[in-house]
């Protein structure tokens, strides 16, 4: 580097003369700034307004009645039985859906591990549910499970396997049915991510284990599962975040019913926000949802870093 570059004052007029490290830094900042700026303007700014709104009793249809409410909107989510049940339903839905998606997805990924023509075609076809508009997924199952004319619901009811009113109208089974629908829709994506994780496993370690006489199950437990953790956690985060915000399928399949048996936080928030334009309350529900998701995700991130360190430390 030339001696001129050592004079900070001249850097500005002659950027080429900057030390490489500075130019490198500048370049990387320029590459990263647009997305951060974009997200701040388009994402964080509206979100901040939402936080502001959530402190008011504010209905867009009746703006003249707006008044400061402090944390009332948040307190009401906890005390109002409808919101509280929505919170519980959402939690059950998320845990159930994510658990079954990971379990079934892992089985699928293991079955698809070998790279042959059949598996490649199977993977492509299995991905179809992921590509279908979620609203349509909800409607498909509403139609299939209808107790009177549904291809599945009719026979289930006829054989006495379900409530004659159908799975989606049975208050004890509706939430489980929605979990089932979510599993149908998203397991393929989980399988895809886990499959990618399997394919990323270093072949030499597996071979070495075979040479050492490890059985299939031992290989799975000692090598595959620990090395798969980053993939598992990616799937876990993606699915938890999305399952917690479930809206489309529930909206069309049950509308939150019977009673409030399948009411979820997002359904509740959308109704408050986009139906009644009660933006104070809607923002509060949405913000609370965001906080919960972020906390869960933060927990997962800790796990990722821990797993990362373990994987890299080897």
């Amino acid at each position: 580097m030339s001696a001129i570059a050592d004079h900070p004052g001249i850097d500005l007029v002659e950027p080429r003369g900057m030390p490489f490290a500075t130019r490198r830094k500048l370049f990387l900042v320029v590459m990263a700034v647009p997305v951060v700026a974009y997200v701040l303007v388009v994402g964080i700014w509206p979100l901040a307004q939402g936080i502001w709104y959530s402190l008011y009793d504010y209905n867009l249809i009746r703006p003249q009645r707006t008044k400061f409410a402090g944390l009332d909107n948040y307190v009401e989510i906890i005390t109002d039985p409808v919101s509280r049940q929505a919170l519980i339903n959402t939690a059950i839905f998320t845990i159930g859906a994510v658990f079954f998606e990971l379990a079934l997805g892992f089985l699928l990924a293991l079955s698809l591990w070998r790279d042959d023509r059949f598996n490649r075609l199977a993977l492509a076809l299995i991905l179809i549910p992921v590509t279908i508009t979620p609203l349509v997924v909800g409607l498909i199952f509403k139609g299939l499970l209808a107790a009177d004319y549904g291809m599945i619901g009719y026979f289930l009811a006829e054989w006495g396997l379900t409530d004659p009113r159908g799975l989606l109208a049975d208050q004890h089974a509706a939430l489980a049915t929605l979990i089932f629908i979510d599993v149908w829709e998203w397991t393929p994506l989980v399988a895809l991510i886990l499959l990618a994780g399997l394919k990323a496993l270093p072949a030499d370690i597996l071979e070495a284990a075979s040479v050492d006489g490890a059985t299939g199950l031992q290989k799975l437990r000692i090598i595959v599962i620990p090395l798969m953790l980053p993939a598992v956690l990616l799937a876990l985060i993606l699915r938890t975040v999305d399952a917690f915000r479930v809206f489309d399928t529930v909206y069309v399949a049950t509308g939150g019913g019977p009673g409030n048996a399948t009411n979820t936080l997002m359904l509740h928030a959308v109704k408050q926000g986009l139906e009644f334009f009660n933006i104070g309350r809607a923002s509060a529900i949405a913000n609370l949802t965001l906080i919960i998701i972020a906390l869960i995700a933060a927990g997962f991130v800790m796990m990722i870093r821990h797993a990362d360190r373990k994987a890299n430390g080897k």
């Binding site: 502001w52 008011y56 504010y58 867009l60 249809i61 009746r62 703006p63 003249q64 707006t66 409808v82 509403k142 209808a146 107790a147 009177d148 004319y149 619901g153 009811a157 409530d163 004659p164 009113r165 159908g166 989606l168 109208a169 208050q171 049950t254 509308g255 939150g256 019913g257 019977p258 009673g259 409030n260 048996a261 109704k271 986009l274 139906e275 009644f276 334009f277």
Partner: protein, 434 residues
């Protein structure tokens, strides 16, 4: 906190609308392009996906030919329609020029001044419109709230009783005229082993279950609002009617009705599964259509029943057409011309012959062409003449009240909730709104 609703006082402009609208209806002959009064104007209608929507879209080119204004119809489901049009009004974004307004939104429209106030225009063009030919109940119900004409009626729906005459005859029954007879007949006509049920109503959570129950509730002497303008959701009459309704629903409705909204309910009747159904008249033309109906030769339609000890309470519903108050005076003028054109006797008759199922005028009830196609018109005439359009309160708070009721009724019908407890909870929520 800023008020996002701009201070638009465009309602006054409406009164100044030029008489060009009048021309629109008189112009039968095709004039040169530049002579057409609304050349270059595009009207966008937000329309509920009911039977009338595609018909409006099909008639639109004819309006364009006569007046030069292009009409585009955005067909939306109920939820999207409410959300998008409300956002359009409160954000002053002028997305839609004309909006189909559900009868129950009238209060909200009036309170917030979303739409052009039409009273003066109607008075001015009374002769051209032939106001006397329009049922007063429809003019009031589908557009007038506390003296403000927020929309112009174009699709009157009557709550009627559709029944499967063949099955009633076989059971030796007459069409029920009282709720007591209705309940008895429905139970008698139910034979689950044969897959036959006495009646069908909406069980799905939300507007579907709320609206159907409100209908039966008013026929059994219940009411949503008290004399003092406060909600009375948990009145004794309402609790009693919900009990009767729940028992009827469990005994005589197809099990799947727990998940039905209007579509499922109509289908159940058209497939011959349910023998009795109270419903909006807009679906009635479908029962006579062999492509979708299995009861073409069995169906009959009559006025809705009511409790024996009270005067008839026939439900009226339907849609008015509202002009967005935010759009320019020129567009408002073209929109008003379109409303007059669509509801004119000639076009409205064609509209119905094309399957809109949306009646409005007294003259339509005796029109030979219409009667030949829709033999049930006298029932509509009777309902429109004597009906009640306020059994679902058209107040600004209606959407929320409906939501509370939708959950309460559904949890009683489908869940195991106690009617009294469910309505108490709904009442407590509703009181918070006032």
């Amino acid at each position: 906190m800023h008020d996002i609703k701009g201070n638009h006082m465009k309602n006054a402009d409406a009164a100044k609308l030029a008489t060009a609208g009048l021309l629109a209806c008189l112009m039968g002959s095709t004039a040169l392009g530049q002579d057409k009064p609304f050349s270059g104007i595009t009207l966008t209608i937000a329309a509920q996906n009911d039977q009338f929507a595609p018909v409006i879209a099909e008639l639109a080119p004819k309006f364009e030919e006569e007046t030069g204004a292009t009409v585009k119809v955005d067909i939306l489901d109920y939820g999207s329609l409410l959300t998008k049009t409300t956002a359009d009004y409160i954000g002053d974004t002028e997305g839609y020029d004309l909006v189909t307004m559900d009868i129950v939104w009238a209060g909200e429209y009036a309170e917030n001044g979303y739409s052009v106030e039409l009273s003066e225009l109607i008075e001015r063009d009374a002769e051209e419109i032939d106001v006397d030919d329009i049922y007063p109940n429809l003019m009031m119900g589908l557009g007038n709230f506390e003296g403000k004409q927020v929309a112009f009626p174009f699709a009157g729906y009557a709550n009627v009783l559709a029944y499967n005459k063949t099955r009633l005859d076989a059971a030796g029954l007459e069409a029920p005229t009282t709720m007591e007879e209705f309940v008895a007949a429905a139970e008698k006509l139910t034979d689950p082993d044969a897959g036959l049920y006495g009646f069908v109503a909406n069980g799905q959570k939300g507007p579907a279950s709320a609206q159907d129950w409100m209908q039966y509730n008013s026929e059994m002497g219940g009411a949503i609002m008290g004399e003092d303008g406060m909600p009375t959701l948990n009145s004794d009459a309402n609790v009693e009617s919900l009990k009767v309704y729940r028992d009827l629903f469990r005994k005589a409705a197809p099990p799947g009705a727990a998940g039905y909204d209007w579509g499922g309910r109509e289908e159940s009747f058209r497939q011959g599964v349910a023998a009795l159904m109270q419903t909006w008249s807009v679906g009635a033309p479908g029962y006579y259509n062999p492509e979708i109906s299995k009861v073409v030769d069995d169906v009959a339609i009559t006025t809705a029943p009511h409790s024996g000890d009270m005067a008839p309470s026939y439900g009226i519903g339907g849609w008015g057409m509202a002009i967005n108050a935010d759009v320019s005076p020129e567009e408002q003028e073209a929109a008003w011309a379109f409303i007059k054109w669509l509801t004119s006797p000639e076009i409205h008759k064609e509209f119905n012959l094309m399957g809109a199922g949306s009646f409005l005028r007294k003259s339509e009830m005796t029109d030979a062409d219409l009667l030949a196609k829709f033999p049930f018109l006298p029932v509509l005439a009777e309902t429109f003449e004597n009906g009640d359009y306020d059994y679902r309160p058209r107040i600004p708070e209606y959407p929320q009240i409906q939501d509370f009721l939708g959950t309460a009724v559904n949890s009683v019908l489908v869940g195991d909730a106690d009617p009294k407890e469910a309505l108490d909870a709904a009442q407590a929520q509703a009181e918070d709104l006032f």
